[in-house]
Amino acid sequence: MKRREAIQTILQNLNKNIAVVSSLGLISRELFDLKDSSQNFYMTGSMGLASSIGFGIAINKPNLKIVVIDGDGSLLMNLGSLATIGHFKLKNLIHVVLDNQAYGSCSEEPSISNTAKLDKLAKVVGYNIVKKVNNQVELEKIIKESLLARFDGPIFILVKIELGGCRDLPRVLKLDKITKRFKIFLSQFN
């Protein structure tokens, strides 16, 4: 599964009542290219903070489901966030990590996610549900289940993806507009 296919699979299963926070680099650019929406907050700077932003929304909007699309390198940069999310056990947070075992938005320098066992870490720090998926069928199944009311978070989904993919993707440029639009989207929910 390629990065684009993974993001596409997630997108196809979202409804209009879900917020998405995407990590920097090619993940955000791919999401922006596939489907720009007021539901999306593209975090293009602040390395590693996508899950923290998602957590900050989840704790203030308990009736809204939040999907964070993170990367393995990004999560390794902010592992404290994993512990915080596990500690507070918010039911409405779905933390997806696209794991290509590399800093894919740089030049695919290898990360250490092959030995870090991010899924096991998530389990140990207190995530309620932890899944590792290798293909689109498995990903679709767990995303669908995660969005059902009976599935309580925090949910951690480790998605093994291939290296490579398109690099010639548009950049998100109007950052303050993204804030404004996303804030209005969130204001509909409690």
Binding site: G45, S46, S52, G56, K61, G80, L175
Partner: protein, 169 residues
């Protein structure tokens, strides 16, 4: 006696902050701010979520702001240095106004040498990135809270209140 005065003044300052609408706080502890943090932990007007690093605290506070809350983040200036990229690449360009309560270690009277460089560069760095920084005193608590609130509203970027050890005694 001095401790009682400090607790009283600190509680007054926290009261001023919540009266100005701040209702969410995250951060990483600093001994100098112990009474502020203790207040936040027992104050029904503000939701307090501790973080593991200052960057994480800024991320959580960003999520709170996007959700319509009015966030504060507390930290020491050592932590501010840790999180300059998050201020420069998230808070400022995305227009996320967060009030930062930052202990100014390395101020005159500092006894720990590892804080001296942070101490003498903190205000200059904030000035370079265009962030308002004001030093809290016993006399300016109300004024500083109000002017920070105005800055956040008008500029939509972070404002910093610097806190020096013993200032509220």
């Amino acid at each position: 006696m001095k401790e009682n005065v400090e607790i009283k003044l600190t509680n007054q300052f926290c009261e001023i902050l919540t009266a100005n609408g701040f209702n969410f706080v995250s951060g990483v502890p600093c001994g100098v701010q112990k009474y502020i943090i203790a207040n936040f932990s027992n104050n029904s007007k503000i939701k307090h979520i501790p973080a593991t690093r200052e960057s994480e605290a800024l991320g959580i506070a960003t999520g709170a702001f996007l959700s319509g809350e009015r966030p504060i983040v507390y930290m020491q200036n050592s932590g501010l240095m840790n999180s300059i990229n998050d201020i420069n690449s998230l808070l400022i360009p995305y227009k996320i106004p967060i009030l930062l309560l930052v202990t100014l270690r390395g101020a005159p009277g500092e006894d720990a040498p590892q804080h001296l460089i942070n101490g003498r560069s903190t205000i200059r760095i904030l000035d370079t990135i265009g962030i308002s920084a004001q030093i809290l005193t016993k006399e300016n608590m109300k004024l500083i809270a109000q002017s920070s609130k105005t800055w956040l509203k008008e500029k939509q970027t972070p404002a910093v209140i610097l806190i020096i050890k013993g200032i509220l005694k």
